[in-house]
């Protein structure tokens, strides 16, 4: 851990007494000669929102893809607090990763085409997750897909409309419903509101906050938008050129940034 760790424990007893949901240790990832991540570690505690911010190219999206087991690092260790998931998750084969992702991790992508079957029904997009998990009752699939869509504040009268006919904000709500349908251990959000109108963005963030409050879902949120991070995150990791330059409680990061890069970011000097 870097010099930031000594300022972590100040007023976070709830976080530190619990077993972390996610632990990533010393992860490095290169693409050819380009260093995407260098010796990055991260810990996420139950019920908290970890915000990861940085400019494009800082490695934050690479890190999120690793958390979703879509990619493998050159080195590093990754653990999730899931019954039966022992050892370094990066050692899992394709099938193991797929099953773990299907049952325990939800993700919302910035680009809904990555997360949704645009021409299937919205409810079907949610139901697919339940089908993979083995739900075989049609009535249950309808009910549970409806519940997840309702929790994402999606208008139920449109539950069978295909995402391609929906607005960007609605598409993100379908992704969100799909992500939370199985009550994941971890919800990953990759720039979930980037590209939406400001008013729509606020509504989607409201939904996320409500979900987080009501269901205590553990989230990792990646965004280049400081406003989004500030609204959502309990704790913040600041990344630059593949490294973590600062990490701390959100209030502390925004009010009293230690690293000069963070200071520049927060004071919008960049």
């Amino acid at each position: 851990m870097s010099a930031t760790s000594e300022i972590l424990p100040l007023d976070a007893p709830r976080l530190l007494t619990a077993t972390p949901v996610l632990q990533m240790e010393s992860v490095s990832r290169r693409f050819g000669d380009v260093v995407a991540l260098e010796d990055v570690s991260a810990t996420v505690y139950p019920g908290e929102v970890l915000g990861i911010m940085g400019e494009s190219g800082s490695g934050k999206s690479t890190l999120l893809r690793l958390m979703n087991l879509e990619d493998s690092p050159d080195k590093g260790d990754y653990r999730l607090d899931i019954p039966g998931a022992a050892g370094n998750l990066f050692d899992l084969d394709r099938y193991g990763r797929r099953m773990l992702r299907a049952r325990h991790i939800g993700i919302v992508y910035q680009n809904p085409h990555l997360g949704l079957l645009m021409r299937n029904s919205s409810s079907g997009n949610v139901a697919e997750r339940l089908l993979i998990a083995g739900e075989r009752r049609f009535s249950e699939l309808r009910a549970r897909a409806g519940d997840a869509l309702a929790a994402s504040e999606f208008p139920l009268e449109r539950m069978d409309a295909p995402p391609i006919e929906l607005s960007g904000g609605m598409q993100q709500r379908v992704q969100l419903a799909k992500a939370i349908a199985l009550e994941p251990v971890l919800l990953l959000l990759d720039e979930p509101t980037t590209g939406l109108d400001v008013s729509v963005q606020a509504l989607v963030l409201d939904t996320l906050k409500r979900l987080q409050r009501d269901r205590a879902i553990t989230m990792v949120l990646v965004s280049h938008d400081l406003g989004v991070i500030r609204t959502m995150a309990d704790r913040v990791m600041v990344m630059r050129r593949g490294r973590v330059v600062e990490e701390g409680l959100a209030d502390q990061i925004f009010q009293d940034p230690q690293h000069e890069y963070t200071q520049a970011l927060v004071h919008a000097k960049l």
């Binding site: 394709r94 099938y95 797929r98 299907a102 079957l117 299937n120 029904s121 409810s123 079907g124 139901a127 697919e128 997750r129 089908l131 993979i132 075989r136 009752r137 049609f138 009535s139 249950e140 699939l141 069978d160």
Partner: protein, 304 residues
């Protein structure tokens, strides 16, 4: 000194059963593998045969490998023995193997079929060879065969179930007609070839061995005897076969089997047995001829 002619056999235009020994050896190996892993698609070279691809060349290669002079061969297309392509295949089989031809399900040792399973129960000593146009149940959700192979390896069938979900949402019922995707031995989803839904339950825990072979696509899979074959269904939406149980064949008067619908001039429909030889036997029995009709999978229109 030994003459060369004593060491060799005289020249012949083709091997017994048309396929040469190396082709048959490969077929035997792949057929055994297919039995060993029920429902798993095995890749084979699929030689060209003197018939166009898509016309039963996959089934033909299996039958040519199985056939011997003591075999009795029945070939049907859409249930009929005298359908043009069934005739063509049966004549070819007889010509290259010397096997006896039959129309009677009870007599046959090998039954090659396109799109139907006969109505009379098949026994342990019979083999059913189904011709398969497209062996890949995942094709509509994943046209790329390399990716589909991975999905089978992972038992990744969520997208297939999703098709059924969408049909329920859009139509209020499952719209899948023939070729109903089914789970074999609890592991691999297959297409049972485009047999009607009526015929799929006949594969479940059957006494006979079934090979399904796609010549053009070079894939073979099998349902061994006494193996489970379960159509993909929601547990609260029962599997439905075609509503043919109450239809009566206008030729034979027989009721309770899968029928062909024949549009009539007056706008109505008449029905005739799809299993044509069962129809013939029923007419013969009605006319007092001595004929043996076997037990059937369905009785009074219901699966037993």
């Amino acid at each position: 000194m030994t003459a060369l002619s004593e060491l060799t056999r005289p020249w012949a235009a083709m091997s017994y059963g048309f396929l040469d020994a190396s082709a048959k050896r490969e077929m035997r190996r792949k057929m055994l593998k297919a039995i060993a892993v029920p429902g798993c698609q095995m890749v084979y070279a699929s030689r060209e045969v003197p018939m166009a691809r898509g016309w039963g060349t996959g089934g033909l290669q299996v039958t040519l490998t199985l056939v011997n002079p003591a075999s009795v061969v029945k070939v049907i297309d859409q249930g009929a023995d005298d359908s043009v392509n069934a005739v063509s295949i049966r004549k070819f089989l007889a010509r290259v193997s010397g096997a006896r031809e039959t129309w009677d399900t009870l007599e046959a040792t090998i039954l090659q079929s396109r799109h139907r399973i006969p109505e009379e129960l098949m026994r342990e000593d019979q083999i059913l060879v189904l011709q398969v146009p497209n062996p890949e149940p995942l094709r509509p959700v994943e046209p790329n065969m390399s990716v589909a192979r991975e999905m089978h390896a992972d038992a990744d069938y969520g997208r297939l179930w999703l098709i059924l979900y969408e049909q329920m949402v859009r139509s209020g019922r499952i719209m899948q007609g023939a070729a109903y995707p089914s789970l074999v031995n609890g592991r691999h989803v297959i297409t049972p070839s485009p047999i009607p839904r009526w015929d799929v339950p006949k594969l479940h825990m059957a006494h006979h061995l079934t090979f399904l072979s796609a010549g053009r696509e070079k894939r073979i899979f099998a349902v061994p005897p006494f193996t489970s074959v379960e159509p993909l269904v929601f547990s609260d939406v029962p599997y439905k076969v075609e509503e043919h149980g109450d239809l009566t064949c206008h030729r034979s008067g027989v009721k309770g089997y899968f029928m062909n619908e024949i549009p009539q001039d007056d706008g109505s429909s008449a029905f005739e047995l799809s299993d044509s030889n069962l129809g013939i036997k029923a007419i013969q029995a009605r006319d007092g001829e001595p004929v043996k009709i076997g037990e059937t999978w369905y009785n009074s229109g219901a699966m037993q």
